[in-house]
Symmetry: C2
Subunit: 297 residues, 2 copies
Amino acid sequence: MAISTDNDAAVYLAAAAKEVDAALERWLPCAEAVPGRIHESMRWSALAPGKRLRPALLLAAGESCGAERATLLPAAVALELIHAFSLVHDDLPAMDDDDLRRGLPTNHVRFGEATAILAGDALACLAFELIARETPQQDLVAQLIVILGRATGTQGMIGGQVLDLLAEGTPADLVVVREIHLRKTAALIRASCEMAAVCARADAATSFALAQYGERIGLAFQITDDLLDLTATAEQVGKRTRKDLERGKLTWPGVVGIEAARNDATRLVQEAVQIIAPHDPQGVLRSLAQYITGRNH
Amino acid sequence: MAISTDNDAAVYLAAAAKEVDAALERWLPCAEAVPGRIHESMRWSALAPGKRLRPALLLAAGESCGAERATLLPAAVALELIHAFSLVHDDLPAMDDDDLRRGLPTNHVRFGEATAILAGDALACLAFELIARETPQQDLVAQLIVILGRATGTQGMIGGQVLDLLAEGTPADLVVVREIHLRKTAALIRASCEMAAVCARADAATSFALAQYGERIGLAFQITDDLLDLTATAEQVGKRTRKDLERGKLTWPGVVGIEAARNDATRLVQEAVQIIAPHDPQGVLRSLAQYITGRNH
């Protein structure tokens, strides 16, 4: 579908979220299967209301270069499972110690710490298993899993969380914040675009453009998140706000100021849009990129 | 190599462990790579002295049906990474709260809880990534990952840990203990034999026999572990003993008594040996099975 306005992007995201939720519902173990408690806990976090940004981007990027929906869907769901796993573990008392997420009690508040740790573990393992089990073209599986594994591991999201925890209370430094954001957030968003390219068997130029686009909107997304933590209310974002400041977290606006951070996010989106233009015939990726920095939740 | 005595099994295990340790050393991120702290933590647990039973079984089972060493090695290392991840998370204060493992301080005692949680996560993700990245025959990757994912997830090891925690302090019940042991321990040991069959492109009869063999020695291994917890010293096993009793854990000897548990382990090994005999020309799998219940650590 051709979309050009923020509203169109919202409509596209809502439709993608609905499709991803239906697939999550189907592929997550049902709550009645033994042991029910961990399945309830996995479903609590993976099916909680969310933007489903990573899978939506994968679907949009994949379609823009001609991949089949059926090829994209297992990878899309896997990305959301990895994202859900990371939220469950990041919220634990030993990490960010959060009690509210997506407007609901966090997993360990609802199910206890032991179950939350194990549910996060199981969500991560299920992500890899799903790609291997459900991807119709089996020859794509190895590439998809290498990209997802790298983006999730210590060179990606998990490494970013470590750097984030280590940096608490250290002096403002843009190089450090950039590295944290690149790993903690941009790596998985970039991976969603790279996995889309694999699903579409895209040529090297398209794959490269998608990776660069993904990295830039990933950074812009996290800068916007930092800004929302400073300026939005908990009702708007569904989690406690101003907590970065309380904890002495390094944030982009904390280093460069609110206005400069807004400008940086806008510039990154402009670059992303420019890079992706030749590979985005219907303008969906442009629209999604612009929507990401305009959001208020 | 043809082996027939306990001593030969010990020699085989030691040689396999050496090979697996060299591969772990090569494939684990080096401690100098950023963020060094989590890499140190991963290496602390994955390289700690251990029997490397799961990878050794995979190598032995794979060789017995003609698989190449190079095909087996990534899967072998992946099994050990999943095992190490499970130990790190099971030892956490919110779970079994252990401070000694393999004769060393547990990961969270040494590196703190946050790093231990993230190191466990990273070890699990690396397991799947390694199979996808390093298996020379890429068409085997999807099958290997489905087996490993199932054995690790809520139908396997993680589900077993949930059942184990839920069963603490409940009345003795052999059906429940069997289900816990099947999932918590036998699933991954069975998977090591099933993955070996995939690597060897074994026929259905061989694959089935290997799976049944693996499940039985997995159960026998855990029964022996329960017995050692009751009867061995911490110096022998490298972790605190008699803790199952203190915590009201369901154990096999706790339900049927020490002598009956010894007999059950022996019977399971006999069944395993009988099942595998037609597919074990050199007797390696028989020897390993017998060694497992005879061990004192």
